[in-house]
Assembly symmetry: none
Homo-oligomer: 398 residues x 2
């Protein structure tokens, strides 16, 4: 619902601590990673607060990082699904401008008949990827500026920037999403995207020529053509002056899209907390992003994820001493190490504030949170709950 008519002044400060991929599942009888971890500080926050489980998108849906974070910031993640091209640009700190069309690229392998035999060219390493990107940087197109940037391994970013005429982004993927078939034509889905499709077509033709003698990566596949979305900022939506402490580019990028101040800091928790302390007096919504929980989950490393959670727990007192009025600790999705990937399982959350209804849950873990006082709720409601506990929202109706 539109909260703007309900917004009211408050000095209260809200701290969102987002442990990426926090949720897990049991494997080996030790409970989830969060349950197996020794977390006295998180347990104390939970026992003096309210807990629950969230679904970032919907029950059974596995969220990408984009939807996961959009939901945490109170934006419906289906309505505001940020395109893959844009997220790729955000992920490498590329300074995307309004009107730019961004796409995610893969180096791939074609056989002599022009059929895709490997969509990732054997997952060539990042060094090789960067070398090929340097070759593609030679490509010039009429009326459109071209940017090609390496991402990781076989991945790269393509950005088309209009010189004269505006570009649409509704262009079909050239990636056929399966092997045994040639790359697809970049067909425009609307009149406004015709010029984009022509430019993409020309880019692909030149890339094919440039890469013809390379091996195993002799072609490119493009997908997720997208432009910067029009999003109301946190200030417009909630009257909040937001600030992001996030070491990884993609999360910084999403925060920037929502008008948050993005502080330069390293990717490690200590750097982020130091930056948090510096930023603290100047903002009323602070978002700290902790990546390691997701990384260890993606690695399939149960003990590593447990250790990451314990590291976060040890850092909690340094954040509490800033005396946030509302603390939310949660994740943007689950990443069970047993699955070594994002998953659909609902995400544990704790909310701690003086105005909480304490719910009798005494430890921070998935099983305990399933019976918590916040219930099982769409993650997009967390922001409303935080605003309410911070005294930022008036009564609705008389």
């Amino acid at each position: 619902m539109d909260l703007r008519p309900l917004l009211t002044e408050s000095e209260a400060k809200i701290l969102f601590i987002v442990a990426d991929g926090l949720g897990g599942i049991d494997s080996g009888g030790r409970g989830t990673e969060l349950e197996a971890a020794r977390t006295p500080n998180l347990d104390r926050l939970a026992s003096q607060g309210a807990t629950g489980l969230t679904y970032p998108v919907a029950p059974g849906i596995t969220p990408g990082s984009g939807p996961g974070h959009m939901a945490l910031f109170g934006y419906d993640p289906v309505e505001h699904n940020i395109g893959r091209g844009v997220l790729t640009a955000l992920g490498i700190d590329f300074d995307l401008e309004p009107g730019d069309v961004a796409a995610r690229g893969n180096f791939c392998t074609l056989d002599s008949d022009g059929v895709v035999t490997d969509r990732r060219a054997g997952r060539i390493d990042s060094r090789e990827g960067a070398r090929l990107v340097r070759m593609l940087k030679e490509i010039r197109l009429d009326d459109v500026e071209v940017y090609v940037e390496p991402v990781k391994e076989h991945r790269f970013l393509l950005v088309l920037r209009p010189k004269t005429q505006a570009l649409g982004a509704r262009v079909d993927d050239t990636d056929p999403h399966r092997i045994g078939t040639p790359p697809r034509e970049p067909r425009a889905q609307e009149e406004k995207s015709q010029q984009t499709a022509r430019a993409v077509s020309e880019f692909v033709a030149q890339a094919r020529e440039i890469l013809a003698q390379e091996e195993p990566a002799n072609m490119v596949l493009l997908r997720g053509f997208a432009q910067l979305p029009q999003l109301a900022s946190l200030r417009e939506s909630y009257g909040l002056d937001g600030c992001a402490l996030a070491g990884y580019p993609m999360y910084r990028g999403i925060a920037r899209l929502l008008g948050m101040k993005v502080v330069d800091c390293g990717p490690d928790l200590d750097s982020e907390i130091n930056a948090l302390k510096t930023a603290w007096p100047h903002h009323d919504f602070l978002f700290l992003h902790f990546k390691e929980t997701d990384s260890r989950g993606e690695d399939g490393d149960f003990d590593g994820k447990v250790a990451a959670i314990e590291k976060l727990d040890r850092a909690i007192p340094r954040m509490i001493e800033l005396q946030p009025d509302v603390i939310v600790v949660t994740g943007d999705h689950s990443t069970p190490s047993a699955l070594a990937s994002h998953s659909w399982h609902p995400v544990p959350v704790l909310l701690n504030a003086n105005t909480c209804r304490v719910d009798g849950v005494v430890g921070f873990g998935e099983t305990a949170c399933a019976g918590g006082g916040l219930g099982h709720l769409p993650a997009k409601h967390l922001m409303t709950l935080a605003l309410a506990h911070a005294g930022h929202l008036r009564k609705f109706g008389a």
Copy 2:
């Protein structure tokens, strides 16, 4: 949400075991029927899986069998409400064709002033109902074929099949839904249904003449005019090749509407399980319907319902030995024997799969499920959850 963009190949098989009217309420301090029953096999599935409570339509809404099953198959039961006439046809295995208009009929009693004094003609028995239906089969109409079929007691099915011009189904009930007033005119709600209304009017006039000397059933009341809905099949919606093992016609009919293969089998659990074993290799979504729990609930027979649940429990090992990747056990609604009818109480559900987050619930019962890891959720999400646990869904967003 539309799952089609997220579908991905998986070999995993999903088994839905639907105990009709499963949910109950306590009466006499023994807990619900499910809680009073000895169910070691269901308890084991629950303790190694995830549990919750579902509401098929919405909190407080008592579902009919149609909405209850549509929700289980992931279709919003309000958006896709199958008309009563169609469900009546499905319930007696009548081979309804697209374009047919079906209605549910009651034999009723009129007094000498033409006022309805009993909407069910004293609930005449099925034999008497069938005799009267045979009389109505004499009715002929211009431009429309007429089918009249007995259902049970005072109930019958009317089907109008167009010969030339298409028929609409938006016609008011002739059933006034109360006594002390004459039957209503079958008024068309739109131009396209004018011919239907005229045909119904002529049918009713002839029926009144034919039945004039009968007692107590001397007239008919019609309601729920409807046509076969346009529904995406399970294959279109989820890429699933579905198969229904259901002894009762209505459930077979609903399954057929959704493009499932419907196997011929008797109405008893043993026949259904034998058919399940035969069908198993050829499908990836298998729906087994168990009717007795609802029947005993409708009878107001607590012990009978307990015995039905125990019978289902004893059959569980024979289904597990097929090694389904995802097992869902639930009901389409609650039928507490204390109320002897369908009810609005949420329905216990267990989901068992290797990819489950086990939730600490150790027995399958309503009270335990209320604290389960699936939470309290609309039943239409169960299909998404089953697909997720079966590896049929890709990540949403990047």
